[in-house]
Every structure is written in C-alpha cells, then in structure tokens.
Amino acid sequence: MSNLPEPFSDLESLVPLWAIEGSAARAAKRDSSSANERQELFTALHPRLSEALEYLDQIGLPSFTNADQNLMNLLLSYAHVSLAVEVQGEDEAKLAIWRPKMQLTRTPAGA
C-alpha cells in the first residue's frame, strides 16, 4: 500500500525524511537537513503545490487517510523548506543557528 495518494505516488521517496507530524519537528528538520535534501523536496513539490492542495481540499481535513496526511505533512514541511530555498539561499546555514531560539509552542496544525 502506498504511503501517498495515488496521483502523488511518484513522491514516495520524500516520505521518510519529510512527512513529519508537528510544526516544531518540521522546523527542526529544516534546520538539521542538508542543502541537497532541502533542494530535493523543493524541486519535487514546487511545481506540484497547487495540484496537491487542490487534491487535499477536495477530500477535506476530517476525511484524510494516512496517505493523505502524509501528503499534507510533506506540504507543511515544504512551507518551511521553501523559505530556505526561495528566500534565505546562502544565508540559510547562518540563520539555522538562531532560529531554534524561537521555540514553536503552538500552531493550528499542532506544534
């Protein structure tokens, strides 16, 4: 059984590293990941973002299967990682030293 909904099964290899529960854990993974790992997630999801959100919007949060939740968590990890790739660029490593000082304590998705 696939860990992702069928239309996104080609993204399966991203699940072990990036389908993460909890905003703080996702933020921490951004900090501890390599630039190559972040780029891999970004390159795979950037062109699929709208398609994936539309797919999950059709299903609705209360009806998510485990596979849907995995896709949601990939997208939520992408929310963090896209900032590293699209905004911070070469400054990401420097900022990763200080960002954990801002401890995430609460989010609607679950901190």
């Binding site: 905003s23 959100l53 997208l75 896209s82 905004v87 660029g89 998705a109």
Partner: protein, 404 residues
C-alpha cells in the same frame, strides 16, 4: 545607499522634534538599579498583556503565566459566571503555588497540593481540611486577586492593587482601532517564544525602528523596502502617550515567490470571508506601552509581547492570530507558511540584539544616539524616564532614596 525617499517626509515633524534630539544615556539599557526602578515604577503599575480571551473558551478554563519581573505567577480563569478573573497563583494558607506543572487547562476547582485548601473560580475558599482549628473565617481566605480586563480580545493584568487608570482609559484612541483587527475576533493562534540576553528596551526597540531592515533582513525584507523608500521607513508616526504607532509602508513593486502567493492568497480570501478588509486599524503597527506590539495585517495579524526578566534578559512571546480552525488543506498550509516566514524574520534579529546588549554591558558608552527615524525608541525612553524619575522623586520625598 540613496538617503532620500520620495514617499517619506524629509524632516521630522514638530511633534517628533518636541521629544528632543539629545543623545540618550546608556545606563538605563543595562544597569540593575535602573531596571529595578522600572519594575516598580512601570511594570507593577501598568496594564500588561498576559494572553488572549480565546485561551479561556469555557467556564473553568484557566491559564498560568509567570511574570519574573515581579516574582509572580498568575492564575487566570473563566468563572462559572463567564467572568474572567486573575489571581496570584498562591495559596493564602502558607504561600504554596496552586499550579506549578501546567500552563493551561480546565478545572472545576483549584486545590493546593500541600494541605488541600480548595478554591472556587471566583477565588473564594470552598473547603479546607480541619479548618475549624484555624483562627480564621473562610471569607478571609480567598486567593489574592489581580486587576484584569480585556480589549480587542487581549487580556491584560495590572499588579497595582488600585490601578491608576482603567484599561480603556490607558489604551485611549488605540482601542477602537485595535477592534478592527482579526486579533480582536480570533479564536486560535500560532505561537513562538524566545528568551534573549538583552534588556527589554533593547529587545523592544529593535522592533520599533526600520533603520536596520535592509542590513539585518537583506533577503526576507523585500516587501518592506524599495527604490522609493530604501530603508522601508513608515509613512507616519503617531504618538498617543504613552503609546505610539507606525503607519506601515509596503513596497508595491515587491514580487513575492509563487509559494508566498499561494499561501497569502488563501489567507486573503479567508480574511474576506470572515468580513475583514484593510482599514485604518489594520495598517497601524501599535506599540502599546510598555512592551507590547500589535499589528492587524490581514495575512499575519500578530502580537509581540516582551517581558522583562532581568536588567539584561527578557522573553518575547510572538503570536499570529487566526479566526476559525483550519478548515482546508490550503488554509493549514497557508498558516504554517505565514508562521514560518514571520519566525524567520524574527530569528534574523536575535543575534544583533544580543550583540547590542553585550556592547552596552561593557560600559564603554555613556550615551547612545537615535536618528529622526528612530524616534519611537526615543519616545519609549522618554516615557520610561518620566516614570522612573517620578518614582525616584517620590522615594526621596518619603524614605530617602531609590535602589541605587
């Protein structure tokens, strides 16, 4: 860098110049004696934001908040009468803290873990084992209440036993503008918290001047500076003593990333669905005395409360407020992105604030300098200085001198 700007006034207003142009003494930004007098003159006598109404959704909902500057722990509870009250988290029997292991929850009563004195939501003593052996009446044994009130959804406390002003009078003209923001109607939020080795004013001042934006936020600050406003200065400053405001300028030429567009479009639609649009109130960056910021932007409506811990340490609590739970994947994604992008920008400030504090701590400087566009920092200092001077003069008049 081009020093001029086509959208920002070249000269300081008369109101700004009236605050003075002299250098500011450096000592109040690191000296223990000054800090202790600030606590007495300001933080123990002023309305301090402690949270939001949405944290107490039901009868019996409570939060516990630590105010290190006063060595105080507060218990704030929504009672069976729906009234929100604040108490010292201290059993009147022998001082034991009632709640020391949680920050929030829901309870029918509150029991002291030491001898099981039990209190109602209104702070009255409900029961105490073997109470007949005390030389007391139960009516003398309630929790010590702290003044509390609400404005625009925000909860405030005042540690003064007899506050000199109501919260409404304290906020004055800011209050109706704050009511226009999403924050006033919010029912949940994202939160991140930091502790920093910096005086509360050093920390706070960083967030009320834009002079540093292009240097400290060269990559993330694209929306806040541009060719016609290279430093990203505000369009206007407002002074409603002891508070102040900025009218935020945004760069109309800014090209957000596709990801940001996706997230912020969802948040914009959600704001419109819940009846919010840009108004005077949503464009004001409120600096509420002594150490609260509130900004009702439709995309990232946030508050930032700086709590003093010591002369050279403080804690910041940053929240982005939302109306309604996540109701779709798009909204969940947008809120995660909005929180993460705000957290990136605040993280960028962390090391530079601490570096500033280390320099001040050395005592190398007798004075620091604020330019025209750092006038809000000057205004805060003048508001603080007035209160500390008045407190010290009162002490001299009554018992001989301040802490120093």
């Amino acid at each position: 860098m081009n020093q001029s700007s086509s959208v920002i006034p070249e000269k300081a207003s008369a109101e700004e110049l009236a605050l003075g142009t002299d250098p500011i003494p450096a000592g109040p930004y690191f000296q223990e004696a000054w800090f202790l007098d600030e606590v007495e003159a300001i933080f123990k006598k002023t309305w301090i934001n402690i949270g939001h109404r949405c944290e107490l959704p039901e009868k019996g909902s409570y939060i516990v908040r630590e105010l290190e500057f006063a060595n105080a722990s507060l218990l704030i509870v929504r009672g069976t009468d729906d009234c929100i009250r604040a108490f010292h988290n201290v059993c009147p029997h022998r001082g034991t803290q009632l709640i020391s292991d949680t920050r929030e929850g829901r309870a029918g009563t509150f029991s002291c873990p030491y001898h099981r004195w039990t209190f109602n939501h209104d702070g009255s003593l409900r029961a105490a084992p073997d109470f007949q052996r005390f030389y007391l009446d139960k009516s003398q044994c309630g929790l010590t209440e702290v003044a509390t009130d609400q404005a625009a959804g925000m909860l405030y406390v005042n540690l003064d036993k007899k506050p000199q002003q109501s919260l409404a009078d304290f906020l004055g003209a800011l209050a109706p503008l704050m009511e226009e923001t999403i924050i006033a109607k919010a029912d949940n939020f994202s939160e991140y918290v930091y502790e920093i080795d910096a005086n509360w004013k050093v920390t706070y001042d960083n967030f009320q001047e834009n002079y540093h934006l292009t240097f400290v936020h060269p990559r993330s600050g694209g929306a806040t500076s541009g060719t016609d406003n290279p430093f990203g200065y505000p369009l206007a400053y407002g002074f409603q003593d002891p508070h102040r405001t900025q009218t935020i300028w945004t760069n109309s030429e800014y090209q957000p990333s596709n990801t940001m567009m996706t997230a912020f479009s969802s948040l914009g639609r959600k704001a419109a669905q819940t009846g919010f649009m840009d108004t005077t109130g949503t464009k004001q960056y409120f600096a509420v005395f002594p150490s609260l910021f509130m900004f009702g932007s439709l995309m990232q409506p946030f508050t930032h409360q700086v709590y003093p811990i010591s002369a050279t340490r403080s804690r910041g609590v940053i929240r982005i407020y939302w109306i309604g739970k996540d109701d779709s994947a798009s909204i969940r994604f947008a809120r995660e992105y909005a929180m993460a992008s705000a957290r990136d920008i605040h993280s960028e400030d962390f090391s530079i604030i601490e570096a500033g504090q280390r320099g001040l701590n050395s005592g190398a400087l007798s004075h620091i300098h604020y330019q025209q566009q750092e006038v809000l920092c000057r205004h805060l200092f003048e508001q603080v200085r007035q209160r500390v001077d008045a407190y010290r003069n009162q002490l001299i008049a009554t018992d001989g001198g301040p802490h120093s």
